[in-house]
Amino acid sequence: MKEIKADLISKIKASFDNVTEKDFDGNRLDFHVETRFIPQILTYLKVNLGYIHLSHISCVDWLEDGEFEIVYIVWSPEDKLKVLVKTRIDRETGVLPNIDMIWRQANTYERELREMFGIKIDGLVAADEFLLEDWEGLPPMRRDFDTEAYADETFWKRPGREDAMDVREAIIERSREEIPDFAKKYSR
């Protein structure tokens, strides 16, 4: 496995600039690359090096850094190695290149990224709505999306629960007892 990883690292570094790698125990290897190289590097991995299976595309919102980290996970049935290709884009102005010409199913992942994180994807052809319907406002998977405020605005309280009182407090009020100390930290 060590030789396979070393060989892969040298090939990728010889073909692309500004690539950093991170090795892990077992059959995992990470590359951090520039966003503009994503289609080329994934094509190279698929066509030249046998990483034919696109396993996953994920996104992590690093709100404090003002960036999204996009992770492409590919797998080689021959090398038995999973490679994570990571890139970072700006949360507001970043644009991600489309890769659905390399793997057809990437189209679905990209639709979800566009809808759930609000990431612009250059050249993506697909229906606007995927999971959400008539959604306005902040994309829901962003870290700064306030789920509680959204629920309060969108849904009405169940009859009898309009005050949104904590269940423990409601019971205590009815029975006119005090909340025991150990339970206080769990109350709102």
């Binding site: 396993s55 996953h56 994920s58 919102d61 992770v71 199913q105 679905t108 995927f130 999306f145």
Partner: protein, 367 residues
């Protein structure tokens, strides 16, 4: 003269035994000329909720992602957490996990038997197999307290050791199921209707499969030997002796044959695991869940489910809650881009059978 195209909606009520989703079909006569998958009827925002809960609370949501795949989901979460934290799992727990995963696989196959046959109007099979599935659920009930959602495979091992005499009960159930499989063969694979409705229908060629990132029995049904349990082994699968069946037909029939053989392999694995199971502890205790933090890091883990590869990407920022949990189900690929391509040129009567054969599961698409 060209016939006028009509639009037909399949779903969003359960089309077969899959879950709520809709396929919008453009048809000419009874031939499909265009298919579009529309999802969004089931989204429960589990991944968002998990970001708001601590590592143990998040675990309780995992098994709810997809009803027929409850244990593989727990296994994913447990292994992702263990990979980030570097937590060791006792040897006995690994064997118990494999046994539970294979029992879950069998239970899920029993549902598939019902779904696949039901989609062709052959309802007796489903009544038999779902009835037999109950014997497996009885075992789960004894082991975990729950029939469908178990919350048993958790970070650090499994929740508790096997009850006294449990192995014998499992073996007895396996003997019973093995005998029943012959009855299933008579009813399903010797059935002229089943053969006629499935051969040459819903074809996924090798090239299409690779292009679309197809996994599991659909990939094996077009002649490619691929199984996470062999290719990227986890727990103790590398110590077990089993084969990965393949077929060349690339149609519903071929995929059904692959699954039929896989059921027998699962029974074989369960017997081996019980035979090889060592003694010892089953749980490497986690700290106080309210204060349990994981080091910064990420992990991508995969398991082989009934429908194929399920993967999970988990990220920890060093805090009390997961930074990101992202699950990739087999259906995420199969039920959208692949289904849209495969359905073109097929007859509308076969849509439900093709969906079942591809392992469509909308809860996996919208977590």
């Amino acid at each position: 003269m060209r016939e006028k195209a009509t639009t037909l909606y399949i779903g969003p009520q359960h089309p077969g035994i899959t879950g709520n989703m809709m396929v919008r079909l453009k048809i000419e006569g009874d031939t499909i000329v265009k298919a579009t998958t529309e999802v969004g009827y089931l989204h429960r925002a589990f991944e968002k909720l998990q970001e708001k809960r601590n590592w143990l609370q998040s675990f309780t949501l995992m098994c709810r992602f997809c009803v027929p795949e409850t244990d593989p989901m727990e296994e994913l979460y447990a292994r992702a957490v263990e990979a980030i934290e570097g937590r060791e799992v006792p040897e006995r727990a690994k064997y118990i996990r494999v046994m539970v995963l294979e029992l879950a696989r069998l239970a899920s196959f029993m549902l598939w038997y019902g779904g696949q046959n039901g989609s062709l109007g052959l309802y007796t099979m489903g009544q038999w197999s779902v009835g037999d599935r109950n014997y497996i659920l009885d075992l789960f009930e004894e082991l975990t307290g729950g029939r469908v959602y178990h919350m048993y495979i958790w970070p650090g091992g499994v929740r508790r050791d096997l009850p006294k005499g449990f192995e014998q009960k499992v073996l007895k159930t396996m003997d019973y199921l093995e005998k029943r499989l012959d009855d299933y063969d008579d009813l399903m694979f010797d059935n002229a209707i089943f053969k006629k409705r499935t051969k040459g229908v819903g074809i996924v060629e090798k090239e299409t499969a690779i292009e679309h990132g197809v996994v599991g029995p659909v990939l094996r049904g077009c002649g490619i030997r691929s199984d996470i349990r062999i290719d990227d082994p986890y727990e103790v699968y590398d110590k077990l002796d089993f084969i990965v069946p393949t077929q060349d037909g690339a149609d519903i029939w071929a995929r059904a044959l692959v699954r039929r053989q896989e059921v027998r392999q699962s029974i074989r694995i369960i017997r081996q695991v019980i035979d090889m199971m060592p003694g010892g502890p089953v749980y490497n205790k986690i700290p106080n869940p309210q204060k349990w933090t994981l080091p910064k890091g990420d992990a991508y883990v995969r398991v082989e489910s009934v429908r194929g590869e399920i993967g999970m990407y988990a990220v920890s920022d060093g805090g009390l809650n997961p930074r990101r949990i992202h699950v990739r189900g087999a259906a995420y690929v199969h039920a959208i881009t692949l289904l849209e391509d495969v359905l073109v040129g097929e007859n509308i009567a076969d849509v439900s059978a093709i969906m079942n054969s591809l392992g469509t599961c909308p809860p996996e698409i919208e977590r």
